[in-house]
């Protein structure tokens, strides 16, 4: 993700009310994560695995924060136990903002199967998902995500496609 898009997306995230950010390694999101880390508008936490990150976000929401977790696509697979046992079981919303490795246009063989299972995985977790392709579109979607989180008390997923996360 280029610097300009990272700033647009980070600013929009904060403007939409998100104020607690958990980061995990994600090659295509590092500029956004760096921007958020420097921002004074977020409490930022770097964790050791995606399940831990989901649970930290859940604790922050219980305390009144509006949490977002930045995930690599494969990280969504890793977080499924926490999403079901914590978020779905208790009814705790978080925003999952992720890449779409293995999505249309990805040129790495090792990501293909991860991307192939992502839609069905999110559907089986009953997590509403929107795939977006531009920074402006992502920004507008954050407000919708927050509204759905408040009303459903369930996680929401925004997946940024390959063109957005790899744009120079």
């Amino acid at each position: 993700m280029n610097q300009s898009d990272a700033e647009v997306i980070g600013t929009a995230l904060a403007d939409a009310g998100f104020d607690f950010a958990v980061s995990l390694p994600a090659d295509q999101l590092h500029t956004l994560q760096s921007w958020v880390l420097k921002s004074q508008r977020f409490t930022s936490v770097a964790v050791t695995n995606e399940g831990e990150g989901v649970a930290v976000c859940a604790g922050a929401w219980l305390a009144g924060k509006m949490p977002v977790i930045f995930l690599e696509t494969s990280g969504i697979l890793l977080s499924t136990y926490a999403l079901v046992r914590c978020n779905a079981t208790f009814g705790i919303p978080i925003l999952m903002l992720s890449t779409y490795r293995g999505g249309l246009g990805d040129q790495e063989w090792y990501a293909a199967h991860t991307g192939a299972v992502l839609p069905q995985l999110l559907e089986s977790l009953r997590i509403p998902c929107k795939v977006v392709s531009s920074a402006d579109e992502v920004a507008n979607t954050f407000i919708d995500a927050r509204r759905t989180m408040n009303s459903s008390l369930h996680p929401v997923s925004i997946v940024m496609n390959v063109r957005l996360t790899t744009r120079e």
Partner: protein, 203 residues
Amino acid sequence: MRRFDCMQALAPMLTDELVVTNVARTGFETKMAMPREGNLYTMGMGLVTPVVLGLALALPHRGVIALDGDGSILLNLGTLSTVGNYAPPNLMSIIFDNESYASTGGLPTATAGKTKLVEIAKGAGISNAVEVSTIEDFTAVARRAIAGRNGPWVIVCKVVAEKPPVEPKLMDGRENKYRFVRYIEETEGTIILKPSVVGRKDS
């Protein structure tokens, strides 16, 4: 030392602290020893201390306590590193170590072998990590930790594996969550649950 004895010792020390418990008997015994609106029972294995970390970072002025277990923390040891790095002074993780997965048949955990959780916690940068095996020692350390707010604290309690004295009346996680959040709203003077846009300005 019994886990229930630790809880009975802990109960009179608590005021408005937020408590999250491990699954099964830890949750049952917590409800028996100290039924409180500020308790969230039966968080999943490996998720107890991370949820408490989120609470601690979001409410830095408030004491938060994890009632965790050896099997649970072993599932997510990385979280001790995160606790060590962010070092919230208001966090205390009490890990009841009975060296077994007692609630699911009693298979031994790694702590029945060579693993020392207190050493792992210290290695993660948590200087206030102690292991206790008597109720007197537990009471003294817990009192110091709660009074001082100088955490993070990890208290590894070596306890025997056993069944709780009686089964408590349970509620499901959703009811528990609502009551827990309402308690935080009331005591923090904030609104967390926003189920409808009606009457709200922040739509």
